[in-house]
């Protein structure tokens, strides 16, 4: 049976390798996306360190930190680089991995978190300074923005669990790591004890098939553990369910309502009090060449502060329609995710984007130049 399974899997692998090879050849690099990656820049780490030091009352000049000792590659600083930089400026620092949201919320010192950028959620190449909690949100210094408030779930969904803990005394930084490890150990032991007792007890109580009763006991134990763990943790998923939708929209996995250019034109010609707010997610230069009349430009890679400023000017009850440069462009999903995260209930996409509007719905306005 195992041999048959292995043989079947081998055949599947050969087919899959062929398929992925063909897919690789079809794909090509997107220069616009590469530009976004570079926007994070190699100095986000030292900028975050300067911000963390400032939060502790120590001012460090960025000029003092621009050194190959502290920025060891063209991609930027490593966690060890930042720890060395902190030590060189009379601060204590510990680089730790495997931290959790418990550690973020309990830590009294600033942390420099390694996160992913909007472009790739599984590539962690950007540093931000986490400076504590305010109004239930994370205070984050994200280069090149000033300190801003971010929803915890959104920050956590981009964090790989690595952080440089910056403190005034060596003991404070080490204590955070020690507490984190101890909490993890206690949690593992607790799970072992609870699951063993629960599943054994459930198996003894169950009558009939031992196989089925065991499976039911495992399912019940997993469900109980999931809910207890989630409700006990500070960053509960159930209490932050909106995050899943924000992430889903940004990743293009959640289906937001869509409009065709004709439907949009009808909506614009309809009730003047119910006019949708049009958002152009393209590059400013493309926007200037031509856009749908009345649209505002919020590029996907705009800084968080400018994006939040633009979004805050729009009433939450408005119907927002986001568009981009056609079906192949996914920046409209990124921008739409920002609106969903900000609490907008009516967010739609115009998948055909600007080209469809031009060719199908209406000619561009003369002053738009498009």
């Amino acid at each position: 049976m195992l041999a048959m399974t292995a043989g079947a899997l081998t055949l599947i692998f050969v087919e899959l390798i062929d398929a992925v090879g063909a897919a690789d050849r079809r794909r090509s690099a997107d220069p616009a996306r590469a530009a976004i990656r570079m926007q994070a820049g190699p100095y986000c780490g030292i900028y975050s360190l300067a911000g963390a030091a400032s939060a502790l009352g120590r001012e460090i000049s960025l000029a003092d930190l621009i050194s190959t000792r502290f920025v060891s590659s063209e991609l930027g600083s490593s966690g060890w680089d930042l720890a060395v930089a902190a030590h060189a400026h009379s601060l204590a620092a510990e680089y730790a991995t495997g931290l959790t949201d418990w550690d973020l919320l309990e830590c009294k010192s600033p942390l420099i978190l390694r996160i992913s950028t909007a472009e790739r959620r599984d590539v962690f190449n950007h540093w931000v300074a986490y400076l504590g909690v305010e109004d239930g949100k994370a205070r984050v210094l994200n280069y090149p923005d000033p300190v801003m408030l971010y929803p915890f779930g959104e920050l956590l969904s981009r964090w790989d669990g690595s952080a440089v803990i910056v403190a005034l005394g060596a003991g404070n930084a080490a204590e955070v790591v020690r507490h984190s490890r101890m909490r993890g150990l206690v949690a593992i032991l607790g799970v072992f004890a609870a699951v063993s007792l629960f599943a054994k007890y459930a198996c003894h109580l169950a009558r009939g098939s031992r196989l089925a009763s065991g499976a039911v006991a495992i399912g019940l134990a997993a469900t109980a553990l999931a809910f207890c763990h989630d409700l006990a943790r500070p960053g509960s998923l159930l209490r932050n369910a909106r995050v899943a939708k924000v992430v889903a929209v940004a990743d293009g996995a959640a289906a937001l309502p869509t409009l065709t250019a004709r439907e949009l034109r009808d909506a614009l010609d309809g009730d003047k009090e119910e006019l949708p707010v049009l958002v152009d997610a393209r590059l400013p230069r493309d926007y200037q060449r031509g856009h749908i009349p009345g649209a505002i430009n919020i590029p996907a890679w705009a800084t968080a502060s400018s994006r939040q400023e633009a979004i805050s000017a729009i009433p939450r009850s408005a119907h927002v329609v986001v568009y981009c440069q056609g079906p192949e462009c996914s920046y409209d999903e990124d921008v739409a995710a920002q609106f969903v995260g900000a609490g907008f209930e009516r967010v739609s996409l115009l998948p055909g984007g600007w080209p469809e509007w031009r060719t199908v719905a209406a000619p561009p306005r003369a002053e738009d130049g498009g």
Partner: protein, 159 residues
């Protein structure tokens, strides 16, 4: 059932037991590691579930809530021999689901982190990750087979 009723040669029960223990311990520790990594940051786990482009936001939220706990529970059950046959079969089915999901993603040309061991160890889906998951599934299946034979042949000593 007393051991004397076994129809197996005397060395076979010990071999079956040893094989089952080694396979269960290996699969159990891997599941515990993965479960602990996912429990540490379920928000990242949501992004990995969504990246497969197979489920919507609500299902992803449910999976991010339940899957890490299921991995932890299965890991404990496999290591501590709690409901062993059930745990081994559920583990095999769970891993077969992971293999199918990875295979679909690979066939569709998705270049995504498999999400196997959390954000600290991202690894892009490839034939290697599928092979690794398959090996783990085969290990769990082998443990289940040994456990089943031991139970059926009357050498099972109870849980």
């Amino acid at each position: 059932m007393p051991k004397s009723e076994s129809h197996l040669p005397s060395w076979k029960p010990a071999l079956l037991y040893m094989t089952e223990r080694v396979a269960s311990l290996a699969a159990g520790f891997v599941l515990l590691t993965a479960g602990a990594a996912h429990l540490g940051n379920p928000y990242y786990f949501i992004t990995r579930v969504l990246a497969y482009d197979l489920v919507g936001a609500r299902v992803a939220l449910g999976l991010a809530l339940l899957l890490p706990s299921l991995e932890m529970v299965l890991g404990v059950c496999l290591i501590c021999r709690v409901a062993p046959l059930s745990a081994q079969i559920v583990t095999t089915v769970l891993l077969a689901t992971f293999i199918a999901a990875q295979g679909i993603a690979l066939a569709r040309g998705l270049k995504i982190d498999c999400g196997c061991f959390g954000p600290a160890a991202p690894q892009q889906i490839s034939a290697t990750t599928i092979l690794r998951t398959s090996a783990l599934a085969a290990t769990a299946l082998a443990a289940a087979a040994c456990e089943h034979v031991r139970t059926r042949r009357g050498v099972y000593q109870g849980e």
